[in-house]
Symmetry: C2
């Protein structure tokens, strides 16, 4: 499998995934993982997730932007890991774009709820595998 | 929800999960994530996974045992994170216990294949969430 195919297969996996797994650096030198709803992305380069401003995730990302994203299909045993940087934003436009029916369950005060934040992740490197195939590439 | 219920719900999630997500500390300060087949565990305290001795995962665990495990049900949006320590073993008994039909695809030389290793993970702390419920506990 060449890099181009791996990136295209990785993108297909992202597009059919309901969730993304975010890896962060937690306290005491332990990595943490959290599932987030896969709401919006631009190819394999940029991803946006909604989260509670007061969550541990936000604190960890503010403290250290070095993060990874992971997508997996447990049936085909196909996976994609993206390494990159995350930052927190409360920009009204992106908060509005990620809002969906049901968001009020998490952010009762609506789209302007101060507890509603967005994690913006930008990748630089990727790794796609399927079976015994394991391909590394720079994301564009 | 109390701690006891959270641990029991977390255990049910582990028992119906085909895969576990392992979080490790990768090079350059980036967390890494990899899906592993959920083969054997003892409650929420100990877990064993088969892996290739030459894999990046093994290198990272040898370098830093601080790791986490994550289980998620994307439909119920229920998740369990366990913080703990991982170590690599090639003890014959555990290699035999984890061997299954199909393992030869990954370890062509059989149960004694030098490229066949076991990741042994021991947790000390857990976090179970379901919807807006988020419970922390020490694992026993």
């Amino acid at each position: 499998m060449d890099e181009k195919t791996a990136m295209s297969k990785g993108l297909e996996l992202v597009e059919r995934s309901k969730i993304a797994l975010l890896g962060t650096n937690g306290p005491g030198g332990y990595p943490h993982i959290k599932a987030l709803l896969n709401l919006k992305h631009l190819g394999l380069k940029e991803f946006w997730f909604s989260t509670n401003t007061t969550s541990r995730r936000v604190k960890q990302v503010v403290n250290d932007g070095k993060t990874c994203l992971y997508f997996v299909d447990p049936d085909s045993f196909e996976g994609l890991m993206l390494l990159g940087h995350a930052e927190i934003t409360q920009e009204p436009e992106i908060r509005g774009a990620l809002w969906f029916e049901g968001s009020e369950k998490y952010y009762p005060r609506g789209v302007e709820d101060p507890d509603y934040s967005v994690i913006h992740f930008t990748s630089f490197r990727g790794n796609y595998y399927h079976g015994l195939c394991n391909i590394y590439f720079d994301t564009k």
